[in-house]
Symmetry: C2
Amino acid sequence: MRILGVDPGLTRCGIGVIDVDAGRRAQFVHVEVVRSSRDLPLAERLGAIGRGVERALDEFAPDRVALERVFAQHNLRSVMGTAQISGVVLYAADRRGLGVELHTPSEVKAAVTGYGSAEKQQVQTMVQRILRLAEPPKPADAADALALALCSAWKSPVQAAERGAAAASSDVSGGLTPAQAAWREAERRAVAGARRG
Amino acid sequence: MRILGVDPGLTRCGIGVIDVDAGRRAQFVHVEVVRSSRDLPLAERLGAIGRGVERALDEFAPDRVALERVFAQHNLRSVMGTAQISGVVLYAADRRGLGVELHTPSEVKAAVTGYGSAEKQQVQTMVQRILRLAEPPKPADAADALALALCSAWKSPVQAAERGAAAASSDVSGGLTPAQAAWREAERRAVAGARRG
């Protein structure tokens, strides 16, 4: 199953694509950051980002989309732009018949670092380890998009056929749910990677 | 010039279309309210509203779009949905090469009633009078979409050729700007209409 993660933003919008197998092992496919200049009118900025997202949806043909759930908290001005971009992403996904999973930033951080208030750098480091990349994905928006896709891969129900396989393997690994088993495995690898590094 | 106004909303999204001549006289063309059920997933709701807006853009082929400027003020939850819809509208307009004018709710109220804190019913009444409709547009979202289009027609620069004509006629009407002249004229008609009623 292929998942495309989007970290929505009007100035920088991260797009990350991963493949996940029945055992929930994740493979890096693609990452990019689409940008729009602050000097452009709002419609043109949304146009530039929206076209980038649609291009990626068409080129990488994901099975589903993972998108950051937007909250109106601190910076209301930037939240409006983020909400507008997320609307465009949801609409583009719906037009292609793709489901969209929404995840809060703390869910995403907890999924890849085990800690819901992790720093941006921790997320970048863990995304690098889990996906076995040569370098941490930069800027943070790129890492966040991949982290969203990973979060969605581990948290959401897999397809029926895959679910059977994962359930069977989870019996072997001591009664863990597929998500727990995948999480344990990623954690084990990341720790092993950190020791090697 | 044809203007399509959108009062963005996730549950009810108003769409109103007017034609404006060189003298800024407005003619009613179309009004509708596109709806989406609260029971649907967010992506499908945005899909339903977005398709309605795109259908109207294609059917009525406006020269520009007038959209409510979204602020994060009172109800943050509903504001997020409104911002997402507005993102979809901005993106759909940009894809068609259409400019979008953003107006605040108080600008719109002031444009059609002369008072920035007017009640919804006042806006409905004035939109009915200005566009010479048999009944006030209902629900409020329908009236708001037409009011947005009227606000845009009166406040924004017209095309070069039209600007010349409007400037010439404004000289006749005592040195008023075209917007002021149009505003006076609408006000005069509305007051006359109210007296007749």
